[in-house]
Amino acid sequence: MIISVSWRNIWRNKTRSLVVITAITLGIMAGVFSTAFMKGMMDKRIESAIHTELSHIQIHDSLYSKTNELKYYMQGTDALARRIDTLPHVTGVTRRIIVQSMISSAETGAGVKIMGIRPEDERKVTDIAEHITDGKYFEGIKRYPVVIGEKLAHKLNVRVRSKVVITLQDLNNNLTAGAFRVAGIYKTSNTVFDESNVFIRYEELAQLTGMPPGACHEIAIRVEDNRYTIPVRAGINPLLTGRERALTWTEISPEMSYVTQVMDMYMYIFIIIILLALLFGIINTMLMVILERHKEIGMLLAIGMSRMRIFLMIIVETVLLSLTGGVTGIILGTWLSKHFETHYIDLSMFGKGLEQLGYSSLVNTSIDPAMVINVTLMVIVTGIIAAIYPAWKAIHYDPAEALRIE
């Protein structure tokens, strides 16, 4: 009966309650949508980082991880790669030779990371081939093709079929160079990556650097889904006998995982700020409510309603008021977020800045059910906190004095 009375009390002053409910609805809807938007952006950044740059797991010689020196390569990786490929949930394995070098066009040069890859294997691990905007992925140029990023192409002022020279230090510390022709130009959502990563064929880089057959610096592994990263890594570890170490993408790029955690924290801080603003609005409303019902509360005390029950009645009323707005806001926010899960939000007007940071300018929202549950709980807690002071005031009314009010 207390719940029924509390619910009906909310609608005694419809306009006032609707104003508060609307404020809560809009606040929570904005909060839910914003967090879904930020999460979507982060998810896309991580997805892009894994699919384009990092893959799920990488294996290196532990000394290479520390120094990036050419000489710390892994030998006899053919057999290791084949065995890893047979592990459950592994969808692709690729081996790379990696060299820091110079790339020059007729006009200018730039320092880049050269990756010697096997295009067929690389396709199974990264999606660079899908980001080709001009030319083809290692097709159309028979000897010494190179795939470069759009940003680098602009910098070097080269096009498809343009000639570039890659200069590097081989295993004997001799400077060596090779002439390549641009086969394809790619563009990812990360312009920094596009500017600094150049792909050539494994065999051609092995030849330039003097690497022995089957040697590589990096084995990159893609798994079916991120949740299999840890189990697959556990399956790989027994296969590693020397200095090789298998690292997951969160270990290779810890900042990426920190950003996710920090973003999660920011989302909650954002929601807490919204709820804090709403809290004072609700307190104000409930103080008005109990002031208006001073005589009625006095009557309830007079007829024998305990102070604890009156306290509870006001708490329930405030929580119901907050929940009505909160749940409506959550439903609308979720609906809006669901809509934009399948429809892009186009931020191309800010695209340049976002892409410099590695974020796509086309964003899909991503709603986290745990977040929805947490927001609901936070709304309830806000309602309870907002009710405490008005309820405390109400139970300290003197019934005799309250009943004298005309």
């Binding site: 009966m1 009375v5 009906r8 005589k295 009557m299 007829i303 024998g304 309603m305 019934p399 004298r404």
Partner: protein
């Protein structure tokens, strides 16, 4: 049989500017089944006296013993509970809960007492029929006249099966027809079910019906007339 014994009851309002003795050494007893009116001019201490009797206001001195319980020796929480089970209230301005129907208003006090739903509905319907509102069970106070609301208030006061009912100026806001109607109902309940009523009033019609009239002046009992 005495159900209320009042001994040397004093209430002094002592503010910074002024000291007012609202109830001045009153000694009275009330028996079960009384139909009493406390009368007197404005400021004579009628409402304060009823508040002390009903446990709403703490006396400066003296005791109020209800059916053997010294009311003011109880803790505040116990006094509220005591009121719930022993005292019925009818107020001048009805004071019904506007969000509840007549039936729910009467049921509400029984809900506070923890009585089962079936029992409280049955009793509430019976009481509302007794006060002539059997056809307005599901009307909210806003849809009832002043007289009808006051009858709901009487039914609510009776619902908790109190030892007595305190009615503070119950007819002050009613027209003569509604007053007559309400008084007849209360008188009937008093005669047939031995319900004890104590009114504060300066309504001559109430005084006329009362079988005991206590006149207060400046907080003192000026006269105590039994009819």
């Amino acid at each position: 049989m005495n159900i209320i014994e009042i001994k040397d009851l004093v209430k002094i309002y002592d503010s910074a500017e002024i000291k007012v003795t609202a109830v001045d050494h009153i000694d009275l007893t009330f028996e079960k089944g009384e139909f009493s009116a406390v009368v007197g001019p404005s400021g004579s201490g009628k409402t304060t006296f009823l508040n002390l009797l009903g446990g709403l206001d703490r006396p400066t001195a003296g005791t109020v013993i209800i059916d053997g319980t010294d009311l003011w020796s109880l803790k505040p929480r116990q006094i509220i509970d005591f009121r719930l089970h022993n005292i019925g209230f009818v107020f001048q301005s009805y004071n019904l809960l506007p969000v509840l129907t007549a039936l729910e208003n009467v049921e509400f006090i029984m809900h506070l007492q923890g009585r089962p739903k079936a029992e409280r509905t049955k009793r509430a319907v019976g009481l509302l029929q007794a006060v002539g509102l059997g056809d307005r069970l599901h009307s909210r106070p806003g849809k009832l006249s002043g007289g009808q609301q006051q009858r709901v208030a009487v039914a609510r006061a009776l619902a908790s099966k109190p030892k007595f009912i305190l009615a503070d100026e119950p007819t002050a806001n009613l027209d003569s027809h509604a007053t007559e109607n309400l008084l007849n109902i209360m008188e009937k309940l008093n005669r047939e079910e031995q319900i004890t009523f104590i009114f504060s009033t300066h309504d001559a019609r109430v005084v006329k019906k009362a079988r005991r009239v206590i006149t207060l002046e400046d907080g003192k009992v000026l006269s105590d007339e039994k009819r």
